[in-house]
């Protein structure tokens, strides 16, 4: 067979399209995205098999402990992390802070997390994510919130959970809410969809689309309070596409080992034998705090609209 080389006159490249933005998270499915606060941690995450790292100044557990205003990380730190690893680098911008997002995009991060873990810059409006060349991931507690974010241009959704607690209960609640509402929507009579859209505050076109396809038009990860391999597998069995682990790794006794274990558990989430094996001797987990013990002012998931 003779070699057949294509000779195109010009391959016009379109960047930053919705398809291109939605595709990046698709490649991360079945994987673990890990919070890191410096280049060393980023390397450990990559070594452990993370599909991406989330660069931030302090992990949520420390943000909780330290208090004060939490903002986008120092660009210098983000650049060091970008240079340290070959996997995608995400970084957090405050809710509604589109200038932080512009800065992150210009630095070359692969995805922006418009995150309730940072102190919101706008209590009424989120970032218009459709204007950006890179994808955004946003937190959601229920289907209405997820669809508002997708309507604004989010290319990926994650549960909010309750970050920095090591308590998985809120992530479970949010995953069940989102996935359960999707299932109900598929059996809802067509004439009820408009009122349903109105009641949950979601764009009608997206409600209609989900009623017909039975799934979100973007990838949906779990986040917020996951601390063990079993937590990751639990959320995967509930039906999310992958997981974020924040404080759970680098606030634990043996980060590399725990990170590797969570990566394996996310892949083999339906295999209790493997889960049992990877869960052994992981050392101390992060010190947890029950989500129920948080005062209203301490709850991060309620941030955003």
């Amino acid at each position: 067979m003779a070699p057949t080389t294509a000779t195109n006159k010009s391959n016009k490249k379109e960047t930053g399209t919705l398809l291109v933005k939605k595709a990046l998270p698709q490649m991360l499915k079945g994987g673990v995205i890990m919070d890191v606060v410096n280049a060393e941690q980023a390397k450990i995450a990559e070594e452990a098999g993370a599909v991406a790292v989330m660069a931030l100044e302090r992990v949520p557990a420390d943000i909780r402990a330290d208090g004060g205003v939490a903002r986008m990380s120092d660009p210098e730190l983000i650049m060091k992390i970008i240079q340290a690893v070959t996997i995608p680098v995400m970084a957090k911008a405050r809710i509604g802070h589109f200038v932080e997002a512009q800065i992150l995009e210009s630095l070359g991060v692969d995805c922006v997390d418009e995150s309730e873990v940072l102190t919101p810059a706008d209590e009424e409006f989120h970032i218009d994510k459709s204007k950006f060349q890179i994808p955004f991931v946003c937190g959601a507690r229920n289907l209405g919130e997820a669809l508002r974010r997708i309507g604004e241009g989010a290319a990926m959704i994650r549960t909010k959970g309750e970050a920095g607690t090591g308590d998985v209960v809120e992530a479970v609640r949010h995953a069940r809410a989102i996935l359960g509402e999707i299932k109900k929507l598929t059996v809802l009579p067509a004439e009820e969809r408009m009122t349903y859209a109105k009641n949950i505050g979601a764009p009608y076109e997206l409600v209609k689309q989900i009623a017909e396809t039975g799934k979100l038009p973007v990838v949906n990860f779990a986040a917020g309070g996951l601390a063990t391999p079993a937590d990751a597998a639990l959320l995967m069995q509930l039906g999310v596409d992958g997981v974020f682990v924040g404080s759970g790794i680098f606030k634990s006794g043996n980060p590399l080992k725990r990170a590797q274990a969570i990566v394996k558990a996310t892949t083999h989430f339906q295999d209790p034998e493997i889960l049992a094996e990877v869960s052994r001797n992981l050392g101390e987990p992060m010190v947890g705090r029950t989500a129920r013990s948080l005062s209203e002012a301490e709850m991060l998931a309620v941030r955003g609209v």
Binding site: P3, A6, A23
Partner: protein, 221 residues
């Protein structure tokens, strides 16, 4: 000529049932499974070596190549089983991460790989995600018999470059404006790779091309 005619038959020859495995440790394996089903062929998600013995062809999806390297290094049986099956002729198709995993040389990296295909790749060759793109490309081998070939809408996500390949490799498609590493689709014996993702755009032609490879292989053996 025969190859082109076979394209029209949607992946199945009468009486020949194909089972396609999709390596499902991480990545967009569900998208590949969907496409394989659309082609009318049975697909199976593969996470353990015991699931590989009776498959006729394997797809290695898009994903993160360092993650797949770690996941296979901690389960040597799946790595060895896949390697042996491909070495003994089982057709394999790797998209993006799959192409990296099949390559025998990854620029500047010692990460784990199958290393079976004589290509040299550079990971993430176009830059960060803001340089990811979609484009229309020509893939002459997909031309239907007697018809003009339609271009293929290709999506490149933090895609690798194929910097060079041995003479044993057939280049099936290239981008012309990127002088270094312009190859985007190639084939060597039973191994097919593309640096883009046909599983994302609903065009079944490349998967059908691969299924033809699987069919021929099954009929020969």
């Amino acid at each position: 000529m025969q190859r082109n005619l076979a394209h029209k038959r949607c992946g199945l020859i009468q009486g020949v049932f194909l089972k396609i495995g999709i390596l499902s440790l991480q990545g967009d394996f569900a998208e590949h499974l969907h496409v394989i089903k659309q082609c009318g062929v049975e697909g199976r998600l593969i996470k353990r070596s015991s699931q590989i013995s009776d498959i006729d062809g394997l797809i290695i999806p898009g994903g993160e190549s360092t993650a797949i390297a770690k996941l296979t290094s901690s389960d040597v049986t799946i790595f060895d089983t896949i390697r042996k099956k491909i070495s003994s002729g089982m057709p394999v198709y790797g998209t993006c991460m799959g192409a990296i995993f099949l390559a025998n040389e990854i620029e500047g990296s010692a990460q784990g790989r199958l290393g079976l295909m004589s290509i040299k790749v550079r990971r993430n060759g176009y830059g960060p995600q803001k340089s990811s793109f979609e484009s229309e490309i020509d893939i002459p081998c997909l031309a239907a018999d007697g018809k003009d070939n339609e271009t293929f809408h290709a999506v490149f996500i933090r895609a690798p470059l194929i910097l060079s390949c041995s003479p044993a490799v057939n280049v099936l498609a290239s981008l012309d404006d990127n002088k270094e590493g312009s190859i985007v689709m190639a084939k060597e014996k039973n191994m097919l790779v593309s640096t883009f993702h046909p599983e994302l755009t609903g065009d079944l032609r490349i998967h059908r091309y691969f299924l033809d490879m699987v069919k021929s292989s099954k009929l020969t053996n």
